[in-house]
């Protein structure tokens, strides 16, 4: 997948560790903000995110309401902060599910011999034939909408991509000269696997996971936008975007700020992923 190419290119391009760039620092700062918003949203919020005030509806951004107010007079900033936990939780859990399944499938394919490799490969190809979001929608139709289903759906839909990358890494490492050498030296199968193959093949996973979170947040938001994720009055970025969409010509702040959060979160995790990839490459 492109993620792999990306990390490989990073590997090829950089050979020396470099001081953190300003972008990385900003990204880390934003991650810190997201962490606080996730675990202690009250520290950042200016008001109760679900408190309505119909008379103050549709107020543009001001000192009292940094991101303006929505159609029910709720504070958009406080809701965006509140939505971080939902969006990130779905993003992180979905990535974990996707990675775990990817590891299982990729491991079977990469280490399990020809027959298993063939079988898993074909299953993967079938899954790839569906756009991921379609697969996610199918799962939601079967199990009903809600945050848990959305998480599982996004996780399952991303698994084939991970599986393919992991298989590729395993095959690459398994056939590398140092593994050959270890075998020739008479090390046992298990020892070769644990000491040589796994650490080298799975190191890129950290990078993949970081990159994947951004992707999963976008998908989770997309599902909530369609009304299939978070349910009202839960503040979730995608759901906020959806609710604000009809007022886009009159109240731009209802869509711009949740949208910005999704974009910045995705850019941030992607940047961190790339930085990790670069370091990973430079260590090798």
């Amino acid at each position: 997948m492109s993620d792999l190419e990306l990390s490989n290119r990073a590997v090829a391009g950089r050979s020396l560790p470099r001081p953190p760039r300003i972008g990385t620092v900003l990204a880390l700062a934003f991650v810190a903000f997201l962490a606080v918003a996730t675990f202690a949203p009250g520290l950042l919020q200016t008001t109760d995110p679900d408190a309505i005030a119909p008379r103050d509806a549709f107020e543009p951004p001001s000192w009292a309401h940094w991101f303006g107010t929505d159609e029910s007079g709720r504070d958009v900033y406080s809701r965006v902060v509140e939505g971080t936990a939902a969006s990130l939780l779905i993003g992180v859990s979905a990535t974990a599910i996707g990675l775990a399944l990817g590891l299982l499938l990729g491991g079977l394919a990469g280490l399990g011999g020809r027959v298993l490799d063939f079988a898993v490969g074909r299953v993967n190809e079938v899954l790839f034939a569906f756009p991921g979001i379609l697969l996610a929608l199918l799962i939601i139709v079967l199990w009903g909408p809600g945050p848990v289903t959305a998480t599982i759906a996004v996780g399952l839909s991303t698994a084939p991509g991970y599986a393919r990358i992991i298989r590729g890494e395993l095959v690459r490492v398994r056939t590398s000269s140092y593994v050959e050498a270890a075998r020739v030296l008479g090390h046992g199968r298990a020892r070769v696997l644990v000491r040589h193959i796994l650490p080298n093949a799975l190191a890129p996973l950290v990078v993949l996971a970081t990159l994947g979170i951004g992707q999963a947040v976008v998908w989770a938001s997309a599902l909530s936008y369609l009304g299939l994720g978070a349910q009202p009055p839960a503040a979730e970025w995608g759901a906020m975007l959806s609710a604000g969409r009809i007022y886009i010509t009159t109240a731009w702040w209802l869509t711009v700020f949740p949208g910005l959060m999704i974009v910045v979160t995705t850019i941030t995790t992607t940047m961190l992923g790339r930085t990790l990839a670069a370091r990973d490459g430079s260590r090798r």
Binding site: P54, S72, P232
Partner: protein, 550 residues
């Protein structure tokens, strides 16, 4: 998504018919449009509907509002209503009823033919009633509207005699609705598949072509001579035809109107109306639908709303006035009646709906819901005070869904845990059929106060064959049943009004429903379109007298 309009796809069964006299407030906002210029002949009007595309253009089949909107352009009824709600002649010129109210004679217009050449006569009326009552037609709205009609006897070519099983004070209103309009018997005889594609009537336009998922083409009926007694001009329509398009997305529909691609749109949304009124060039038609107002029904058939104190507490806690003002941009007025404001017999009592959080808390304490969890949600004997509220995204517009979130927030202050679940139509029916709801909003269109019998008579708790039951409040009150049954057969207008008032007092006083506003029905059209009006029957627009000035 924005297209989930108020009535959009309540299936046929929800649209039942029959009723009393109605006054539809539906003149164009610019006042007397017809007086601003001389009518121009020619041109094709483009209509953009936000409603679901009907699966059948024959309003006898099923019978919902989208069908009524388009069928009104090519089908006509026996009678109509004028703007004061009086019944006026249309295809029938006069009618008489027997002393016992069981026989009605309708005298029909002479020398009228359907657009396929079939003569309009008493045989045709008989064939239509039989078509509506035939289970194979799968009629719901028209079928229920004519539920008390046993048979139609052909007395002569121009006199049709209706034999009723019991007196029906709502018969004329029932016959004024598009769902009981008269079609060509030859057309009906072609069978449902063919008749659904192009029903044949006597109206000002003829169905020319229907390209599903795209549009319906209507062409002028050059031989048109009929029309309700209050029609503005005689003879054929001015327009050459109508292109009836379906544009479900509200913003796209409005953009098409602004760009001049279409001449008129229905289901104009509150924010759109607000923009249009500021731009000042478009003309609005506000035609609230008859029948029931939009309201929240409180399911009194099971806990916790089987306790009147809990129902009253909810109504005292749920604050909707500010939300209606802000979410609807002043386009909807708060209602304090379960009936539409166009219903002359609508009874309102705003004193019952004052919000008072202290009173709500006191009532819940008294009813035993005294424990509170960390979120402030009350419980009683370990059972939390949960209100399941399935919302049909097909029927509730975004502004209304936001209003429900506000109800959720204000009710929570008293300790109610309102669980909103926006769902598609079939899941919504499923939740209702399984009684998995404490709150629900289900609009209902029908001419006249007899809609109260459909919505609140205990008979309506029993599901129809389709599985739907209209008495969603599950109101089971013998006194109310007796009042509603008596009113439906009462021919004396004053007696009838009195019975309906007593009935509405029981409904409002028992806190079975929280009225919100009339079923919103706003149209926007270009200033070049003149002479259009909404029918005083079910508030559908008619283009029989309309012309394009540009």
């Amino acid at each position: 998504m924005t297209s989930r309009r108020i009535f959009r796809s309540l299936p046929a069964v929800a649209l039942v018919a029959a009723g009393a006299i109605v006054l539809a407030g539906c003149t164009p906002a610019d006042g007397d449009a017809a007086a601003t210029g001389d009518p121009v002949t020619g041109g094709t009007l483009v209509y953009a509907s936000g409603d679901a595309e009907p699966s059948c253009l024959d309003p006898h089949v099923g019978g919902n509002y989208p069908q009524a909107l388009i069928a009104g352009q090519f089908l006509e009824s026996l009678v109509s209503l004028d703007e004061s709600g009086e019944v006026i002649p249309w295809l029938a010129t006069e009618w008489t009823t027997s002393e016992d109210g069981l026989t009605w004679d309708f005298t029909l217009r002479e020398d009228v033919s359907f657009t396929d050449g079939t003569p309009f006569d008493a045989e045709a009326v008989k064939a239509n009633v039989e078509h509506l009552k035939d289970p194979a037609t799968q009629s719901s709205t028209g079928y229920l509207a004519l539920g008390k009609v046993d048979t139609v006897e052909v007395v002569s070519d121009t006199v049709a005699r209706f034999h009723l099983s019991v007196p029906d004070s709502a018969l004329l209103e029932s016959l004024s609705q598009p769902w009981t309009a008269i079609e060509s018997p030859t057309g009906i005889a072609r069978g449902m598949d063919e008749n659904c594609v192009a029903p044949v009537g006597t109206g000002p336009f003829i169905v020319d072509e229907w390209i599903p998922q795209d549009h319906v083409s209507l062409v002028r009926n050059d031989d048109y001579t009929t029309g309700p007694a209050d029609r503005a001009h005689d003879g054929a329509a001015y327009l050459d035809g109508i292109t009836w398009r379906f544009i479900p997305d509200s913003a796209s529909r409005y953009a098409a109107l602004q760009a001049g691609e279409v001449d008129i749109i229905d289901n104009a949304q509150p924010d759109t109306l607000d923009q249009a009124s500021k731009s000042g060039t478009l003309v609005e038609i506000d035609a609230p639908r008859p029948g029931a107002a939009n309201r929240l029904e409180l399911n009194s058939g099971q806990p916790p709303f089987d306790d009147i104190r809990v129902r009253e507490a909810f109504i005292r806690a749920a604050d909707v006035n500010d939300g209606i003002d802000s979410l609807f941009f002043g386009t909807a007025d708060r209602s304090y009646s379960v009936l539409s404001s166009v219903e002359q017999l609508a009874y309102s009592d705003d004193s019952l709906f004052d919000t008072d959080l202290d009173e709500a808390n006191a009532l819940l304490d008294e009813a035993g819901w005294t424990e509170r969890d960390s979120r402030g949600i009350r419980s009683k004997d370990g059972v939390p005070l949960t209100l399941r509220f399935p919302v049909s995204t097909n029927q509730s517009i975004p502004a209304e869904q936001s209003l429900f979130e506000q109800v959720q927030a204000t009710a929570k202050e008293a300790g109610f845990d309102v669980q909103l679940s926006p769902v598609d139509l079939s899941s919504w029916y499923g939740a209702l059929a399984a009684h998995e709801y404490e709150l629900v909003s289900a609009p209902y269109t029908k001419v006249g106060p007899d809609v109260l019998r459909i919505l609140y008579h205990s008979d309506s708790i029993t599901p129809a064959p389709s599985g739907y039951f209209a008495n969603l409040a599950q109101l089971d009150d013998a006194d109310l049943d007796a009042l509603l049954t008596a009113a439906a057969s009462e021919s004396d207008p004053d007696e009838r009004a009195d019975l309906y008032e007593q009935a509405q007092q029981i409904i409002l006083g028992g806190f079975y429903a929280l009225p919100l506003y009339d079923q919103q029905n706003h149209f926007l059209h270009s200033p070049g379109l003149e002479g259009v009006r909404a029918m005083p029957t079910v508030s559908t627009p008619t283009f029989a007298d309309a012309w394009l000035a540009d």
